[in-house]
C-alpha cells in the first residue's frame, strides 16, 4: 500500500485494547500514528512486509555484515536517564559497535499489554527515534502484538540490528594478549543502581541517572586513536565483572584490576553499601570495557575522554600471563581476591 494514496491514519484511543492487535483498522491506526510517524525514514516508507536496504559500505570488498538481536524487559518502563525504548535502541546499537561495526538499521517488535496508555507508547516511540538519530541508525521495520492483561508487563520490545564491519577491522574477545590494558569509558553500575532506586522499594532519594546511551561515536574515536584495539565488550547484564570474565576465558589470559581506580559514583556506591551488592556486577547500558595494546592505551583513554560518553574513561587494569581465565582484583587495602562470574541475580542481604 502506498502511503500517498490516502491521508495517514490517526489514533484516537487513549489506551491500547486487544483490537489494536487484531490486524484490522485499529491496528493500522496504532502502527501508523504511533510508530511509523515517530520512526519515519526512507527505508520504511513503502509499508511492504520487508525493508529494502542499500548502503555504499556494503559494496566495499571484504566488508562484513554484523547482525545482532536482543529482547528488552525493564521495570519500571521509564526511569531517570531513559526508558525501555531508549535501552532497546542503545542496547542493540552497542552490541554492534563493540564489534567494530558501523550500525545502520534496526528492527523493533513490540509486545504490548492491553490497557497500556497510548501517551506512554508515544513517549517511548519518540525516545527511540531520538536515540536512533543520536546513534545514526534508522528503524526500518517492525511489528506490534497486543496481549491480554497479565500476559505481559506493560511493554516488551525486541530489536535486531544490522551494521557493517570495515574490511580492516577484526575485534574479538579471543584476541587479547598479556600486557594489554583494560579501559572503561565511565562510571560503573549507574544503570543498575538507577533502576533499583526507580523501583521505589527502598524509599531512597538520589540523583542517580542511568548511563543508557549509544557508544558508536566513542568506539570510532577510540579506534581512530588506538587502531590496535583488540576487543571491546558492552558491560550490560552481569556488569563489568562478567565482561572481564568472558574476555579472560576467550583469550586465555589472566586479568588484574585495581579497586582504587574503578570509576564509581557516590550514589551507586551508596546503594551497594546499603544492600550489600558489588558494583562490579551491576548492569550498565552505556559502559564498555576495551582492551588495547599497552603502547596505545594513553591515546585510547584520551580519545574516549574527548567524547561525551567517555568523559571519565580510565584504565582499570591489564591482561597478564598468570592465572589464565581468572580475573583478580587488587583491593584498596592491598589484598587480592578473585572476581568470578555471578551465579544468579545479586540478592540484597538480610542485615
Amino acid at each position: 500500500m502506498n502511503a500517498h494514496l490516502r491521508p495517514p491514519r490517526r489514533l484516537s484511543a487513549t489506551h491500547v485494547t486487544l483490537a489494536h492487535g487484531g490486524g484490522g483498522k485499529a491496528m493500522r491506526d496504532l502502527v501508523e500514528d504511533v510508530f511509523v510517524a515517530a520512526f519515519a525514514n526512507p527505508g520504511m516508507g513503502e509499508m511492504e512486509d520487508q525493508a529494502r536496504l542499500t548502503n555504499a559500505a556494503l559494496t566495499v570488498p571484504g566488508a562484513r555484515l554484523a547482525f545482532t538481536t536482543d529482547a528488552f524487559v525493564v521495570d519500571p518502563i521509564e526511569f531517570p536517564g531513559g526508558d525501555i525504548g531508549k535501552i532497546a535502541v542503545c542496547g542493540t546499537v552497542n552490541d554492534l559497535v563493540v564489534g567494530g561495526a558501523a550500525p545502520l538499521w534496526l528492527s523493533a517488535a513490540f509486545i504490548i499489554e492491553e490497557g497500556v496508555d497510548v501517551a506512554l507508547l508515544r513517549r517511548i516511540a519518540a525516545s527511540m527515534r531520538a536515540a536512533a538519530d543520536e546513534a545514526g541508525v534508522a528503524i526500518v521495520t517492525g511489528d506490534t502484538k497486543v496481549v491480554g492483561r497479565g500476559s505481559a508487563d506493560k511493554i516488551f520490545i525486541a530489536t535486531s540490528g544490522i551494521g557493517v564491519i570495515a574490511p580492516d577491522r577484526d575485534l574479538r574477545a579471543s584476541a587479547v594478549q598479556p600486557g594489554d590494558v583494560a579501559i572503561v569509558n565511565g562510571a560503573l553500575g549507574d544503570h543498575g543502581a538507577a533502576i533499583m532506586i526507580a523501583r521505589g522499594d527502598m524509599n531512597l532519594s538520589t540523583e542517580i541517572v542511568s548511563d543508557c546511551r549509544p557508544l558508536g561515536t566513542l568506539m570510532e574515536a577510540t579506534l581512530a586513536a588506538a587502531p590496535g584495539l583488540r576487543a571491546a565488550r558492552d558491560a550490560t547484564r552481569g556488569g563489568v565483572a562478567s565482561a572481564l570474565n568472558e574476555i579472560a576465558a576467550a583469550s586465555g589470559v589472566g586479568i588484574e584490576i585495581h579497586e582504587a581506580v574503578l570509576p564509581l559514583r557516590a550514589e551507586a556506591r551508596g546503594v551497594c553499601e546499603i544492600l550489600g551488592l558489588d558494583p562490579l556486577y551491576l548492569a550498565n547500558e552505556g559502559t564498555l570495557v576495551a582492551f588495547v595494546p599497552e603502547c596505545e592505551a594513553a591515546a585510547a583513554v584520551a580519545a574516549m575522554r574527548a567524547t561525551d560518553a567517555g568523559r571519565s574513561a580510565v584504565a582499570i587494569g591489564n591482561a597478564v600471563v598468570a592465572h589464565p581465565g581468572v580475573v583478580v582484583m587488587n583491593t584498596m587495602l592491598g589484598g587480592r581476591r578473585i572476581v568470578d562470574m555471578l551465579v544468579g541475580d545479586q540478592l540484597p542481604r538480610i542485615c
Binding site: 592465572h323 589484598g335 538480610i350
Partner: protein
Amino acid sequence: MKYVDEFRDPFAARGVLAAIARTVDAIGAIKEKPIHIMEICGGHTHAIFRYGLDKLTPPGLEFIHGPGCPVCVLPMPRVDEAVEIAERNGVIFTTFGDAMRVPGTKKSLLQAKADGADIRMVYSPLDALDLARRNPNRDIVFFGLGFETTTPSTALSIQQAAAERLTNFSVFCNHITVPPPIKALLDDPFMILDGFVGPGHVSMVIGTHPYDFIARDYGKPIVVAGFEPLVLLQSVLMVLTQISEGRAEVENQYARIVPEHGNPISIAACNDVYEPRDSFEWRGLGEIDKSGLKIREKYAAFDAERKFGIGYAIASRALAEPDGCRCGDVMTGRIKPRACPKFGRDCTPEAPLGALMVSSEGACAAYYQYGGAQLEDVA
C-alpha cells in the same frame, strides 16, 4: 564517600597490619601452629574475603569462620515449611532477598515462586505490614529470619500489627540468637579457638554483656567489631594484644555504634514478643539449647506456625545433612572449606549442597567466590 573512605584508608591499614604481624610474632605463632581467631558474623567473613584481608595477615594467624550467617544455618525442613505456607491459597509470602535461594529438601522459595506461589522480596518486615494493609483479602506472611540484628524490627512489626488489629499478618519465626552457638562451640572438646571477633550490628542491639561468659568462663578474649576493613583489622589486633598480654576480656572496638547495655527499646520489644524455644536446629551444627525464638502466646494471632498449623517438632526433623557434607567441621574450625571433598565439585554456589555454600556470607561461598586458597595457586 564520607564515613566510608576513612575506614578503608590503605596507609592506615598498613600500620595496623604491621602491628598485627609484630604481635603474632611476639606470641610465637607460626603457620604450622597458628593462632585461631573466629569472626562470628557472616558480615565479617564477607568483608575479610571482599577486601582480601586473609592475604594480608601473617601465616601465623588463621581466621575461623563462625556460624553468624543466618541464611546458611537455616535448617532445610524450615525452608520446606516456608514453601508449604507460601504455596497455600491466598498467601503472599514475603522474605529478605538472600533467603530466596536457600535450598529445602524439595525446593527453594525461588523455585516455589516460579511454580506459581506469590512470594515477594521485601527490605523490612514493615514493607510486609504495608502489604497487609493494602491487601485485606490476602494473608501476608513474613519470613522472620536472622539474629538480634533483625529480631527487633520483626517484633516491632508484630506489635504494630496488634495495635492496628490486623488479622491478615503473621510471622514465620526463625529468629536465632548469637550467644548459644558460641557456647556450644566453646564446649566442643576439639575446640581450637584462641579468641573471637564479635558481631557489630548484633551487639548494637544486645550490648556487650551477653559475651561476658566467653572471657569469664572460658578465658577467651572477644572484641566487638564494625564491618569496615580497617576497624575489622583493628579489632583483630586488639584480640591478638589480649592474647599476647595473657588477658581475656570483652572489649568494644565499635563503641561509636555499640552501647555497653545495647538498645533498651529493642530489647524490651523482643522480650514482649518472643520467648526462647527449648531448642532449635542449626544447619551444620545440629540442635542447640535455647538458641531460637518463638512468638509468645499473647501474640499467637500473628504466629504463622500456629495460624497454619506448623509446629516446631524435633522428632520430625532428624534429617541428616547430605552424605559427605562437612559444614559442621568447617564451622568449628576443624577443616578449611577446600578440605571438604564436596567443595567446588558437588557443592557450588549454583547448586549448594551444604549450608556454608548457600549465602555470600557463608565461609564456603566466600572461599569459592573470592578465591581463598585457589588464589594462592594462581597468584
